[in-house]
Assembly symmetry: C2
Homo-oligomer: 211 residues x 2
């Protein structure tokens, strides 16, 4: 029933299931390099040396540098989508489900901020067909969040005049965590997730302090 790694919210590296070992090291090296300098400023030599191998070894496991980005982007987007889908399909009131979606989505972006930064901000470097594929996943994510908000509006527990615009705002808030979050910073992923869940409930007019 759960074909994913053990734990969606925990601290597992998202690339633990890639084989062989060298391929996994390459993906991990690419994630860190892309997150630090951006895709175009990262060289294949940089990725290979971070993975502890020669420049040529990269091409044994991946056809191009772009394929590495595609792998990262695709897996990351699917993980992000599954997080909000799980919240959408879960039990509870719309407010509880929206809070759960935001909390786990934000926690993922904070916990895996290196991966998330690549996933959210480097997709413009993908080849056309890969880009389109990833955009489709993003639209599904957007739709999942919107459907939770619509549920709340239909149930009369949310006060949201502009559902589409508010959905974009909620996702903005969550995604941007990947840009500024710093593991050495003041707050933990859990704290940010809780804070943001509360802020989003207020945004939809279902703030905890007002019923």
């Amino acid at each position: 029933m759960d074909a994913e790694p053990k734990n969606t919210g925990g601290k597992v590296e998202p690339w633990g299931d890639i084989t062989p070992d060298a391929a996994r090291r390459l993906v991990s090296a690419a994630v860190h390099a892309f997150a630090e300098r951006g895709y175009h400023a990262t060289t294949t030599r940089d990725i290979a040396s971070r993975a502890g191998m020669s420049p040529a070894a990269l091409y044994i496991h991946y056809k191009t540098k772009e394929e590495l980005l595609y792998q990262i982007s695709k897996v990351g987007h699917e993980r992000a989508l599954s997080i909000v889908e799980r919240a959408r399909d879960g039990e509870g009131t719309p407010a509880e489900r929206l809070a759960a979606a935001v909390r786990s989505f934000v926690r993922w972006h904070a916990e895996h901020h290196t991966t998330a930064r690549v996933v959210q901000y480097e997709l413009g470097a993908l080849a056309a067909e890969h880009h389109a594929e990833v955009i489709a996943v993003r639209k599904a994510t957007d739709g999942a969040v919107r459907s939770i908000i619509e549920d709340g509006v239909k149930a009369g527990v949310f006060d949201v005049p502009d559902v589409r615009g508010t959905t974009v705002a909620v996702l903005s808030l969550c995604i941007d965590v990947a840009r500024w979050f710093n593991a050495a910073g003041r707050s933990t992923p859990d704290e940010v997730g809780d804070l943001y869940a509360g802020l989003v409930l207020r945004m939809v007019g279902a703030g905890s302090g007002q019923g």
Copy 2:
């Protein structure tokens, strides 16, 4: 008292006062290229050809490609800072000033989304000292927003348990507009600004519907 172009919220190109004409065309070309493909994926030949000149002409007006980015980033950040400072120092209740700050800040990011995208997302490509300079301006912007929120908390009209975290969230919301806003899309800069101002008032517990 106002050494800036005529209009901070209007539709003026932010580079209208650069001379000579060729330098202005180069900056404008660089902004568009950087926004579309990113700094590192943009070539000096691309910038020059967009500006209607030969590759070498770029170096008559700017020492390096990075200096072009610095010019864009510095001017853009200063403009953004002046927008929130104006709101902070303006008249009205904390709620009114916060709403004004968000409205004009968001409107600027939507209106000038091409410039804003470069300003907000390409600063990592700056040289170390230029980067530090720009970071200082960003901190000032953060501080200006935070001081408005603190005013509201002190006055007892905002309900914000975590001022620092909420400030980050508010800025996230505004900045991310530059990433997704599309001039051909559904909503105008004014509409987004109004929507976001309302959402932020709710985030700080000063929603219009509850006094």
